[in-house]
């Protein structure tokens, strides 16, 4: 397995380089939008634009720009934002804790509710609870996240004049109550869609497992329900669940954009959105590279976890 992991890790720089090249050159295609145009005002002269282009290094041939950028990246310098002229890495690191917390909490709630409801639904198949949870699954997958998030703002305000904390991210170590007030309600709602899907996957995987002979054997041996369902049933149903959780985490990175927008949390999603709107190339290049690495890293973790869950799976 170690060899397999090392081989997969060896691909990372290759794929990162490929993604970088594609991103870098795609951003500089004529129809991708010129950052200088986006920074221009009505009174920006042609000379001003040329000066700006020189300052941003956009006057050089694209291949030269790429070489310079690559050289800087290899030295750990991801450049400066076009607008604010701040180091990209600093700007990202400043915003990272907010996005990380959104992702961790959302994933946590998704897995917690998705798996729990899925197991209950499978174990109590065709019961009132099963029907109720399946209705929840349809609802959760049908209602858009932003709608639920807006309701989360509007209804408590109308009923109790309540507003969630404003002023953006606050560390959980600094002010735990405010942090949880800020993050728990929206991440709970953000998890609705994901947990609905996870519930359906868990339910169908569990139904299949619960019909297996070894489950019948386990019951016949007199094992308690918990041991049968969780230790023998759920463990064997975990592979599709983990695959889904891995994919969901990737999707969450982009789903966080909506939550950050609606709840005014100045995280990475916002940063990426604003930078894309302003054609801030260094930020876009960094974030695409970062996303690629995160996706590849997560896929690797998911793949490796299969072997840990199911001893029959071996990587050579």
């Amino acid at each position: 397995m170690r060899q397999y992991a090392l081989r997969r890790l060896a691909y990372l720089p290759l794929i990162a380089a490929l993604v970088s090249v594609i991103t870098f050159f795609t951003l500089r295609l004529p129809w991708a939008g010129d950052p200088v145009t986006y920074m221009s005002t009505q009174n920006t002269t042609v000379e001003d634009q040329e000066r700006l282009r020189r300052e941003l290094g956009l006057d050089k041939p694209v291949a030269v720009q790429f070489g310079l950028w690559l050289g800087d990246v290899l030295r750990g310098d991801f450049g400066e934002t076009f607008r604010g002229r701040q180091p990209v890495l600093d700007e990202v690191l400043r915003r990272f804790p907010a996005t990380l917390e959104i992702m961790v909490l959302s994933l946590g709630f998704t897995v917690l509710f998705g798996v729990t409801f899925g197991v209950i639904s499978a174990v109590r198949q065709d019961s009132v609870a099963d029907y109720g949870l399946r209705v929840f699954a349809v609802f959760g997958q049908s209602v858009p996240d932003f709608f639920l998030l807006i309701l989360l703002i509007v209804l408590p305000s109308m009923w109790w004049n309540y507003s969630h904390p404003i002023g953006g991210h606050v560390s959980i170590f600094e002010d735990p109550v405010r942090n949880l007030r800020l993050y728990v309600p929206p991440t709970l709602l953000l998890a609705v869609g994901g947990s609905a899907l996870m519930m359906r996957v868990t339910r169908s995987a569990m139904l299949e497992v619960l019909r297996q002979d070894y489950i019948r054997t386990a019951r016949a041996k007199g094992l308690g329900s918990y041991a049968v369902v969780v230790r023998h049933g759920l463990r064997n149903a975990l592979i599709p669940i983990i695959t889904l959780a891995g994919n969901y985490l990737v999707a969450l990175f982009f789903g966080a954009v909506i939550l950050e927008q609606v709840f005014s949390i100045n995280g990475l999603g916002q940063f990426f959105l604003v930078s894309a709107a302003q054609r801030d190339f260094p930020v876009m290049q960094f974030l695409v590279l970062y996303s690629a690495l995160v996706v590849m890293g997560l896929n690797l973790v998911v793949d490796l976890s299969y072997a840990l869950i199911d001893p029959r799976i071996k990587y050579t």
Partner: protein, 564 residues
């Protein structure tokens, strides 16, 4: 050559990101004075509480009774990409109003300069203006360390700011303004290349951004302001979090003793309007701009007399710009478009009736606007039958659809384009085709580059002075040819002549003549309406000034007092 800034760098991308017509921080700041410039008011079943009359100034209790420990909490609608006032309109305006001092400012109601740091203003000859400076100090931060403001700072500020590509300078600053002499630390002599009667307005020497007094050490290294802001205004910049959640505190050595009456100001990033309303209702912020009259009525119903609503007519005019060449070269074709526009209906659709028709000059500029009676018979005339006749006489090819370009900047933009399209289809019997573009392309290419086929629709920015509203009627719009390709020597000369008339009354009359001539010649820009904007305040925000445009934002006598 540079251009005048009818648009400058709009707050539009912020609005795009904010997803609503809600204002950005600079505009959020404008709400403080109740002089909002945003689109989107709605119907008013009753007169809005606290409706402001122009030039309304507050009456305050004796100063000794005023609590001065309040922090005013405001909304910020989108993160800034830079806090540098020379790199963004939001930062330039906000720090201009609160952190930097100015020599003077000219309110829109009087159009006469009111002195700030300057203690006297003389104009011994039309091209020489002498200011004497009063005593003012910079905030106590390195590298300036609280030293006194000198004339050299004023010179450096004006002369450096106009060279910044991110600052929307104007024809005045680039062509009329010749430079500044500083014979001593307290005397500023502004030299002009030519006489200009509008020299003291906000697009000339009275600019909020170009007129901000910045220490000369910082003018020498403008990138310093990417990290910190040091001015001599009534508030000290304390900090921010990645371009959001700004904090200002009272400057104890502010040149006006005892002011400001606020201990500080704080902005909170709140992008969604629903969230802003919730935060306001929860008393987490002290004021909120309202997108329409429905929101206003709902808030009044919920909070009753605990809140006050300020309302003001915007100076942001929604306009239709046709071309003046090709099939639009015949003035009858252009006039047909104007005659086919039912302004009352558009106001109803766009604002639930809470807007008013606008002439070339928005109605806020009472001294230079044409009377309603005159406009009713000319610019505002609605006559579909005559419109169709004129179109036929002009030989206009009605089989080709009329293309209407609009920026993708939120609901109101597309709603306005749809309203115009519907009226043209109904009243002229022509097909229309709405083309929506992202703001950058729309502004730089379609509008400034004249790359539109038939019509382009937009709201102008809101100004504190009348001259920018005349730009679209000039042959040269700051180095670029007229956007509509409308070239009229007579109008150009009339506008230029008005700039040289130093007597206010005569100049105002000359401006009215310009407007009459523009209407007579069917200049291709057709103003439609200005919306009424609303802002809600908790009862404890006192001392607000309304109806004087951005002048109200320089008010150091706003205070928080929770006593009834």
């Amino acid at each position: 050559m540079r251009a005048n800034g009818l648009f400058g760098r709009r707050a539009s991308r912020r609005r795009f990101l904010a997803g609503a017509g809600a204002a950005g921080l600079g505009w959020g700041g404008l709400l403080l004075a109740g002089c909002g410039d945003d689109e989107g008011p709605g119907r008013s079943p009753t007169a809005p509480p606290g409706d402001a009359s122009p030039g309304a100034t507050p009456t305050s209790p004796p100063e000794a009774d005023i609590p001065k420990d309040g922090i005013l909490r405001l909304r910020q609608t989108a993160p800034w990409s830079s806090i540098n006032p020379w790199k963004g309109l939001d930062s330039g305006l906000t720090w201009g109003f609160y952190v930097f001092d100015h020599l003077f400012y000219t309110p829109l109601d009087t159009l006469k300069p009111e002195l700030f740091l300057a203690t006297s203003l003389e104009q011994p000859e039309p091209t020489r203006i002498i200011f004497k400076l009063g005593e003012g100090y910079f905030h106590d931060k390195p590298p300036v360390n609280g030293r006194r403001v000198t004339a050299r700072d004023v010179k450096a500020s004006y002369e450096t700011s106009i060279k910044q590509p991110g600052v929307s300078t104007t024809t005045f600053m680039t062509q009329v303004f010749a430079g500044i002499d500083v014979p001593d630390d307290e005397t500023v002599i502004v030299k002009l290349n030519a006489p200009d009667a509008w020299a003291f307005t906000s697009t000339a020497l009275g600019g909020v951004i170009t007129g901000s007094i910045i220490p000369e050490e910082i003018c020498a290294q403008p990138d310093f302001m990417d990290r910190d802001i040091i001015g001599s205004g009534r508030f000290v910049f304390e900090g921010h979090e990645s371009g959001t959640n700004f904090r200002l505190r009272r400057f104890e050595k502010w040149r006006v003793p005892g002011e400001p009456w606020l201990a500080g100001m704080r902005w909170f990033l709140i992008q969604e309007q629903a969230q802003a309303l919730a935060a306001f209702s929860a008393q987490d912020i002290d004021t909120v701009g309202l997108a329409n009259v429905l929101e206003r009525d709902q808030l009044v119903q919920r909070h009753g007399k605990d809140i006050e609503i300020d309302s003001d007519l915007s100076r942001s005019v929604w306009v239709i710009l046709t071309r003046a060449d090709g099939r639009w070269a015949d003035p009858r074709a252009r006039k047909a478009v104007n005659l086919a526009i039912d302004r009352d209906q558009i106001i109803e659709v766009m604002t639930f009736g809470e807007g008013v028709k606008s002439g070339v000059m928005p109605p806020a500029f009472a001294s230079v606007s044409l009377s309603e009676q005159e406009l009713s018979q000319t610019l505002w005339k609605f006559d579909p039958a005559q419109a169709k006749q004129l179109l036929a006489q002009a030989g206009f090819d009605t089989t080709q659809p009329i293309e209407i370009k609009v920026a993708a900047l939120g609901d109101n933009f597309s709603k306005f384009a749809q309203a115009v399209a519907a009226q043209l289809e109904k009243n002229l019997g022509v097909k229309t085709n709405i083309v929506t573009e992202d703001f950058g392309t729309w502004l730089q290419k379609s509008l400034y580059g004249s790359e539109y086929k038939d019509l382009i629709v937009f709201p102008t920015l809101a100004y504190d002075e009348p001259t920018p509203y005349l730009l679209p009627y000039q042959k040269d719009i700051g180095g670029r040819p007229n956007w509509a390709r409308f070239f009229d020597d007579e109008l150009d000369q009339m506008i230029a002549r008005a700039r040289t008339i130093m007597d206010d009354e005569q100049r105002f009359e000359a401006l009215k003549e310009v407007q009459r001539k523009a209407i007579e010649k069917v200049a291709p820009l057709f103003p439609v309406y200005v919306p009424r904007s609303f802002a809600a305040y908790w009862y404890w925000v006192k001392g607000r000034i309304t109806g004087r445009g951005s002048y109200g934002l320089f008010n150091g006598r706003v205070y928080i007092d929770k006593r009834r």
